[in-house]
């Protein structure tokens, strides 16, 4: 059975259980590519040294706001576009909202296919599009207070390349 589903929720998820539900009873599946995004404590170190000490304004927590209704539409549209581009046998997307602590899981994208090329490409495509098209906003809590996370230019260019290369990356 092919399953394509998304979920936006506060509760944590179990990647194994999600992947096993995706692959159960479908012996055509040979490849599952998955991605889990985690809340990082910090993006920069104190100095150039390799110690694990982190900055005084390191992230103590995070809160995820979203646009109910549009979020689900956007994620469904992204999955549908992935299905048009690659041969997929299942997709599961879970994105958490609300307060999250460092180390906690934020997002899961799991893609099942017969071959790994399709699974890898679709998984990365969904993440790149989710990052730039799904209406979520992160607010970080630090010792200095709260701050809304800025969008990154690299996320825009990561999403952009799927328009340029189109189907070329589907080597198998």
């Amino acid at each position: 059975m092919e399953t394509f589903s998304i979920d936006v929720r506060a509760a944590d998820f179990d990647p194994n259980a999600e992947i096993e539900a995706l692959t159960a009873h479908n012996l055509q599946i040979g490849a599952v590519a998955s991605f889990v995004g985690l809340v990082r404590a910090d993006t920069q170190k104190v100095g150039a040294d390799e110690t694990d000490s982190i900055r005084a304004d390191s992230v103590r927590g995070m809160s995820l706001e979203h646009y109910p209704g549009m979020t689900e539409k956007a994620l469904t549209a992204i999955v549908d576009e992935a299905r048009q581009r690659w041969e997929l046998l299942g997709v599961r997307v879970i994105h958490r909202i609300g307060p999250l602590r460092p180390g906690e899981r934020i997002v899961l994208v799991a893609v099942a296919s017969s071959h790994r090329g399709d699974a890898f490409a679709a998984c990365e495509f969904i993440m790149d599009y989710l990052k730039t098209r799904a209406p979520f906003w992160k607010k970080e809590a630090t010792a200095q207070g709260h701050r809304w996370v800025d969008a990154r230019e690299t996320d825009q260019s990561a999403a952009q390349r799927w328009n340029e290369s189109s189907k070329n990356s589907t080597s198998q």
């Binding site: 995004g37 995820l64 646009y67 549009m70 539409k73 997002v107 990052k131 730039t132 906003w137 969008a151």
Partner: protein, 84 residues
């Protein structure tokens, strides 16, 4: 015509509104004109003008500032998204 306008994230905090219901004058025909119309309502709407890379959606679909507005539409303004 009546429309609903939603605001999210930092823009929502700056404006102090989550959503407003609005009677739109006939000359305000698209998303960009709606933004300009709100900014013209007074300094409490200044954050709409100063927002870097302001994004919009019409009826829960990403939309450009040239997207037309019709009666009962749900328009949203927000900063670039940062999920994932």
């Amino acid at each position: 015509m009546q429309i609903t306008v939603l605001f999210f994230a930092g823009l929502r905090e700056a404006l102090g509104h989550t959503a407003i219901r609005l009677e739109l004058p006939p000359h305000v025909g698209n998303v960009g004109a709606l933004r300009d119309y709100l900014i013209a309502q007074g300094p409490e709407w200044a954050a709409l003008g100063s927002a870097r890379n302001l994004r919009a959606a019409v009826n829960q679909q990403m939309a450009g500032f040239d997207a037309p507005i019709e009666a009962d539409d749900e328009i949203a303004f927000f900063p670039p998204v940062t999920g994932g």
